[in-house]
């Protein structure tokens, strides 16, 4: 869609443009919803660098990397689905694949959470990592895990909502199907972008033993 054409459309108030614009504004609000968590992360990382690295080593880098690959692939499936929807072709398989990959991500995340709970890494009163050598280290690790759980849980919540929408779209057809797939796709890719940043920030600190 060329820019000149699009602005003419905007003046006439086409519903597709309005809906897409509205969704991007929603994505803007979502970015700013995650914002404070990222600021909190910067605080912990700069005030407790050793504790943050130690805490990050407790996360499962293999599962995290696999999950990132899964999510990136799900974005491909979603992009293909949107492309096909625009060409009025069937999207069911691709939407299902997207949702399935999303669910796989959530399952793996659940496994990671299970391990972390077992190691007493959930940041409540019972927080007790094996390598908290000082009070300072303990506080730093606890704050890191607060952000780890908050960020990944918020992300997982958004991903779950996305899965629901994808599954819903495989069942429903409807006249506005192409638009619905496009909008769901934008949302899905946003969730992917958030994870693209979460992965290095949470999983890749202190991995070289530093």
């Amino acid at each position: 869609m060329s820019t000149a054409n699009a602005s003419a459309i905007a003046e006439r108030g086409e519903p597709e443009h309005a809906a897409t614009f509205a969704l991007w504004i929603l994505l803007a609000t979502e970015l700013l919803l995650f914002g404070p968590l990222f600021l909190g992360y910067v605080y912990v990382r700069t005030h407790f660098p050793d504790a943050a690295a130690a805490a990050s080593r407790h996360t499962d880098m293999l599962l995290g990397t696999v999950n990132t690959a899964i999510l990136l692939t799900s974005s491909l499936c979603m992009a293909v689905a949107a492309e096909r929807a625009r060409a009025q072709r069937s999207t069911q398989w691709w939407l299902s694949a997207t949702a399935l990959l999303g669910l796989a991500f959530l399952v793996i995340k659940g496994i990671e959470y299970q391990h972390e709970f077992a190691e007493h890494l959930f940041p409540d009163r019972g927080f007790a990592p094996a390598d908290a050598i000082s009070l300072d280290r303990l506080h730093g690790m606890q704050l890191f895990f607060l952000l780890y759980f908050a960020m990944t849980a918020l992300h997982a919540l958004h991903l779950a909502v996305g899965c629901v929408f994808c599954l819903g779209l495989t069942v429903r057809g409807g006249r506005q199907h192409a638009l619905a797939v496009e909008l769901t796709g934008l949302y899905w890719h946003f969730v992917d972008v958030v994870w693209i940043f979460l992965y290095p920030l949470l999983y890749l600190l202190g991995r070289a033993g530093g």
Partner: protein
């Protein structure tokens, strides 16, 4: 398959970048680890936004929306850091003595 060529190429690039960031994390590069990781993350995010979210061909209004959101977040980080990175340098009489200063590495 032909019409999805671009999407598949982007996907392969994303996976390669993922491999790069994971592998580089295992090397001891000091501060450069973070720089590299965040740089690669920004590249991946850029690829997803430009090609999967089709920002390249979006209406100018939509690109403006994306930029405004990122700029607002940047303001939050930039102006907060005027506080955090200067707490020890410019001490006021009413500042608590036990303020923890950030350790930059």
């Amino acid at each position: 398959m032909k019409q999805y060529r671009l999407l598949i190429i982007v996907w392969i690039a994303l996976l390669l970048l993922l491999a790069a960031t994971a592998a580089s994390a295992l090397l001891q590069l000091g501060a450069w680890n973070s720089v590299l990781n965040l740089g690669i993350a920004a590249l991946k995010a850029g690829l997803v936004m430009l090609f999967f979210m089709r920002l390249r061909s979006s209406h100018v209004l939509i690109r403006l929306t994306a930029i405004t959101a990122m700029a607002t977040l940047a303001i939050l980080f930039a102006l907060s850091s005027t506080d955090y990175f200067a707490r020890e340098r410019y001490v006021a009489p009413y500042q608590r003595p036990q303020q923890i200063a950030p350790v930059l590495r």
